[in-house]
């Protein structure tokens, strides 16, 4: 009896994949084409050109910056570190001394990221997974507070700290009377309050999509709410925490308004943004320092973003967790 075997495919013929069938596959193919790649590279380059120009400018001497455009630096290279030195370590009254303000920025930003994260995570968990009366109304109220513009609350907040709260002559809360370094408390307070509605909303979205079975399994296993929050919810919402953390960090680091009003006092509390504004504003003819000052200011957010960015994408796109 003859057994027939299929002849081996002749060498060299590879199966050509057929045309993509689904719409998503078609889009993906178009987006991967050389033309699309070229177009995206072009757009990226165009977008980066101003920043690159600033970077080049920050290394040019003062006269060059003020007289010629940055692109001429390639034909006539004259580079110096004078700008950076002046801005960071200069001792004169008008020079940057950015080192101190850099520290101030860090001191303002890091707690302003950690406090809202902590409060919002706890609040979001309670609103999502604990049953109590009025829970939904509280959530709607917090959610609606996003509408309140920052500017509306500035004066009340300021008077709360400097004059205290009194109703009809009776003093409900005395003035805080914060001195120089203690003014940081005001800034932290302000940033935390303004960040909380968005934070609670974002984290609530994420936490409420965790599978209900996980919580129930933990409850049956013997966990109380704090234990569930610590052992199960927190590890699972790290992407959302990182995503919000990046947002909040960038927002607070670059914020000028709140810093000016609550911490604009002096060099003990003022952050980088205030100082940079002063540098450009007091005497507009010294703006070569802005170039280097700006780049120093960029370094930290860049580090934060690059180190947390994989969480960022996951946190935005991932709707929930598959058990």
């Amino acid at each position: 009896m003859m057994t027939t075997t299929t002849p081996p495919a002749p060498a060299g013929t590879e199966s050509v994949p057929g045309p993509p069938v689904t719409r998503a596959a078609r889009v993906r193919r178009r987006l991967n084409s050389p033309i699309a790649t070229g177009a995206s590279i072009l757009i990226a380059v165009l977008w980066t050109v101003p920043t690159f120009g600033l970077f080049v400018s920050s290394f040019r001497p003062e006269d060059e910056i003020k007289t010629t455009g940055w692109w001429t630096a390639f034909s006539n290279p004259q580079f110096t570190l004078q700008n950076y030195q002046e801005v960071l370590f200069g001792r004169s009254a008008s020079s940057g001394q950015l080192a101190g303000y850099f520290i101030n920025s860090l001191v303002i930003t890091i707690p302003s990221v950690l406090f809202p994260l902590a409060f919002a995570a706890l609040a979001a968990y309670a609103l999502a997974w604990m049953n109590f009366k009025g829970r939904d109304w509280i959530y709607i109220a917090v959610f609606a507070l996003q509408i309140v513009p920052l500017q509306m609350a500035l004066v009340p907040l300021l008077s709360f700290f400097s004059e205290g709260v009194s109703l009809g002559g009776i003093e409900l809360m005395p003035a805080w009377n914060l001195d120089d370094e203690e003014k940081f408390v005001q800034v932290w307070f302000a940033h935390t309050c303004f960040a909380l509605p968005v934070a609670v909303f974002l984290l609530h979205n994420f936490i409420s999509q965790l599978p209900k079975d996980l919580m129930e399994a933990a409850r049956v296993d013997g966990a109380t709410h704090p234990k569930i929050f610590r052992s199960i919810v927190l590890p699972l919402i790290v992407p959302a925490l990182a995503a919000f953390g990046i947002f909040q960090f960038l927002w607070v680091w670059n914020d000028l308004l709140v810093a000016l009003i609550f911490a604009g006092g002096g060099s003990e509390t003022a952050p980088l943004t205030v100082r940079l504004a002063e540098l450009a504003g007091t005497r507009a003819n010294e703006w070569q320092r802005l170039t280097s000052g700006a780049f120093i200011s960029i370094v930290v957010p860049l580090i934060v973003f690059l180190s947390l960015q994989r969480f960022f994408v996951r946190g935005l796109l991932a709707g929930g967790v598959k058990g």
């Binding site: 939904d136 709607i140 996980l214 129930e216 399994a217 013997g222 966990a223």
Partner: protein, 436 residues
């Protein structure tokens, strides 16, 4: 180890759905009780009320004779296995199994030992370091069981643990779960929609439909003497043949059951004839399973039904022939669902609109509890309306040897074993004498 007693337990959800309607059930020490029913019948809700994850609207849940309505789940001495395993995805398998022990304060040394024991007993001792996402479905289910067993609870609660697995795995795990639970001697409440699982695993089966408990008993009891039409139709494969019959009593001689073109006769000395005789002139449901029917030669005397084969199903180990005998079928609605509430009027409607807006914003149901709907008590007649002009013709399922020498269109005669015939009234209740 733990006994469970449910007394008149009812659960009405805030949007008015009656999930569980006056259920009373007992689970004895060490018993394997299966809650069986279609999707939406309330069996999972009953399980969750025993677990403490839901509170009953009325009624009492008693564990070991003590009222447990207000006890949180962790104080009830229970362990639960979920349908989608509910394993903690960020923890390793070993940490998953050890989690309940960690919560109850067991030290690390004895903890590790117990975890290792349980894992090796379940055959997952070598994957303790992996994360759940790296395991197959069967392994995940074993981890879930391990997490439940390691606590040494008094009561196991299992919510359709095998429905997410493929059928080959299901059969294997079925035997494993059954053996494991009996070996441990722990009372178990097992929820499923698969009647084969129920009949093979259970000490007792409780069938539910639309929140109402239909029947409770050993598999033999509920299969052999179903209490309601629904139970009769739900259990058994192929489904019990259910025919509409009109009763005519010939006093002291026999009772005729007129199936349409043919008739069956109950002799008067059959004790059930007296019970059926009450329905003289009315229509009842006559049920017979495929195993009560035997193919015979066409001119055999006795209780024989003549028919023509509509179609054949070949199952490999047997073939099923579906006969047209000129009778009308009773259709049993298999898809039980919770009873919906009625729309409120006027101000209630405005509040309802607000509730819907809030529901969309917060993503969960909100609003005042709706009153229980009126349709709870009434049950519709299972019989067809006399005026309907398209009544479904009955197809009588008969078991034959594999690949028989007959085909569609062939005539066939079957003899009926009258003692294996069931009778149900138009409400669906069993017509019988002196049964449980």
């Amino acid at each position: 180890m733990t006994t469970v007693a449910l007394k008149d337990v009812t659960k009405v959800f805030p949007d008015g759905t009656v999930a569980v309607d006056n259920v009373s059930l007992d689970v004895n020490d060490g018993e394997f009780m299966v809650l069986l029913g279609p999707s939406g019948c309330g069996k999972s809700t009953v399980l969750r009320m025993v677990a403490g994850l839901e509170d009953p609207s009325t009624g009492a849940v008693l564990l070991d004779g003590e009222l447990a309505n207000d006890l949180p789940p962790r104080e009830r001495g229970i362990a639960m296995v979920f349908q989608d395993f509910a394993l903690y995805p960020h923890m390793s398998v070993g940490a998953n199994i050890a989690f309940p022990l960690r919560l109850s304060g067991v030290e690390e040394g004895p903890r590790g030992e117990r975890v290792a024991d349980v894992a090796s007993a379940l055959g997952i001792g070598d994957v303790l370091g992996r994360k759940p996402s790296q395991l197959s479905g069967g392994q995940r289910q074993r981890v879930a069981m391990g997490r439940a067993i390691v606590r040494r609870p008094g009561l196991f609660l299992m919510d359709e643990p095998l429905s997410n697995l493929d059928s080959g795995l299901r059969a294997e795990l079925r035997a494993e779960i059954s053996g494991l639970v009996r070996e441990l001697g722990v009372s178990t409440i097992y929820v499923t929609h698969d009647q084969a699982e129920a009949l093979t695993m259970a000490d007792r089966v409780a069938i539910m439909r639309k929140g109402v408990l239909q029947d409770v008993g050993t598999p033999t009891q509920v299969y052999g003497r179903p209490a309601t039409l629904y139970v009769a139709a739900f259990l058994g494969s192929p489904r019990m043949n259910l025919l509409e019959a009109t009763v005519y009593v010939h006093l002291d001689r026999y009772v005729t059951l007129n199936l349409g073109e043919q008739a069956l006769y109950l002799p008067w000395d059959d004790i059930r004839a007296r019970a059926v005789a009450h329905y003289h002139g009315e229509r009842i449901v006559v049920g017979m399973r495929a195993e009560a029917l035997t193919p015979v030669a066409p001119d055999t005397p006795g209780d024989v039904l003549q028919g023509r084969i509509r179609y054949l199903e070949h199952h490999g180990h047997e073939s099923l022939a579906f006969l047209d005998i000129g009778a009308t079928a009773i259709v049993v609605d298999d898809l039980g669902g919770p009873v919906t509430d009625e729309r409120p009027t006027g101000a209630g409607r405005g509040l309802r609109r607000l509730g819907q807006v809030m529901q969309r914003l917060t993503g969960r149901a909100v609003g005042p509890g709706q009153p229980a709907p009126a349709a709870r008590g009434a049950r519709d007649s299972v019989l067809n309306d006399p005026g309907r002009h398209h009544r479904r013709p009955a197809e009588l399922a008969v078991r034959l040897a594999p690949y028989p020498a007959v085909n569609s269109g062939h005539p066939m005669a079957v003899s009926v074993r009258m003692d294996a015939v069931h009778f149900f009234d138009e409400r669906g209740d069993r017509i019988d004498v002196g049964w449980r």
